[in-house]
Amino acid sequence: MKLTAVGQRYGRGPLLFSNLTLDLEPGEVVAFSGSNGSGKSTVLGLLAGLLQPSTGTITGRPRCVGLVPERFPAQQRMSASAYLTHMGRIRGLSTAAAQHATQALLERFSFTGGPRSPMRTLSKGNAQKVALAQALLVPPDLLILDEPWTGLDEVGHDVLSGIITETAGRGALVALSRHLAVPGPVVESLRYDLDEARVFHPSPSGPAADTVPAVLIELRRPDGAGPLPEALARRVLPRRPGQETATLLVPQRDRDRLLLAALEAGWSVVFVSRAVTDSNGSSNGGPGSGSAGPPAGGA
């Protein structure tokens, strides 16, 4: 999928961003970051085909797109299972296949809202799980997630990380937006910052480091356990409010050694993910597979 000199404005206002050029490959996980109003959701709308770019072109959009909004309003009296069955049928599944996929996804997300309860009675987290499920009823070739970590519980975070990894692993393109201030697992292989209008790479050490395989490890500190060894402590990701466990992103090659160090320090392992690509935003490089001019204003 290719974005060439894409710019977007609303009405007669200034360009929200301009000259956005990106060449996105299948299997890539790309994140769009930036401050409020920088155009993250707008870029995702352009990728989904919901908006026509004011300038530039977008080509090579996959046919099967899954869209997960930042906020799923769920005002309907329709139940979650009925809604998902309808969405499955709209995507071309038979009723039985749609119901089967619905049940499997709701179970995978540990959906607790009652599949037959009206959607308007769902909590924010459960409504967000319905939003995620509808995008995955048919495995999408382009999965678009608008600030996906918002509102999900711990299980949802873990499952979502796994889904993003799986989706990219089978050759689909995953595009997501994220606030760098909002904690969440780092799953992207490429990050485009709309404020700075440039592509960030995970490591200053060059392109080879862009694809260093990494795993997410979640650790719990039992009573009496000592502090984490320094090698682990510096890899702890920012915690979500109320999170009692520590999530770490570690290179896959160091996984066993660091897990052993954590266990020896008395910590308990809660979760270890499959390999993802380490693109921690703490490091960056120059423009690589994409580039853009400075925003023309309006952010």
């Binding site: 085909g49 919901l50 797109v65 329709m78 969405m87 049928r89 709209i90 995507r91 509808q134």
Partner: protein
Amino acid sequence: MIALYRYVAAGVLHRQLYLPPVLLFAVVVAVGSRGDGGPLLPLYALWVGAMLPCSVWLTVAVLATEDAVQERITRVNARRMWFPLVAGALVALTFDVVMAGAAVFFPLLVGVRPAGPADLMVGFLAQMAAAGTGVVVGLFCARQVILRPGYALLLAAVAVLALLLVRWIPPVNPLIRLLAGGDPASAVIGPVLLADASVAALLIAALPIARRLQRISG
């Protein structure tokens, strides 16, 4: 498209936004169906006049069933961005068919009137011409095209009044005058069929235009 139609229809039935325009039309039909035994076609002229604003309202209500965010999801899942708009128009037309069908027979239930199949056919087809016109107006007044409800209401009111009152704007005003003119059904069936064909063509032309405007408004 069938799956999308079923989803939109289910959403409309759940949210019951169809009730106000359907009830308004039912009240007009109930009040207008006096048991005076008079001819049917002038009565059907009143139904045609009532059908237009009710169809506009119904179309706008059907297209407002989904939240804007959910609607974007549906558009992406449908893969063709204009399918939800078509499904909404078809659901609105389905309600119109039921309303027009009930309104054709209701006068016969409350009083004995001289009526033949041609009268009933003309009454139904004339209402459907007004209904189709209402769907076209509703498409352009829907939230998907005009984001501000105040502007949408103003445009809908102006369009409905113009279509009802301005003699040279087809098809509703000419149809009302035709049915109220006292001619037999056999004499008016031709123009009524022509009006239906014109409205069908107008509706088919309006859908991509409304879709284009929807795309611009996001």
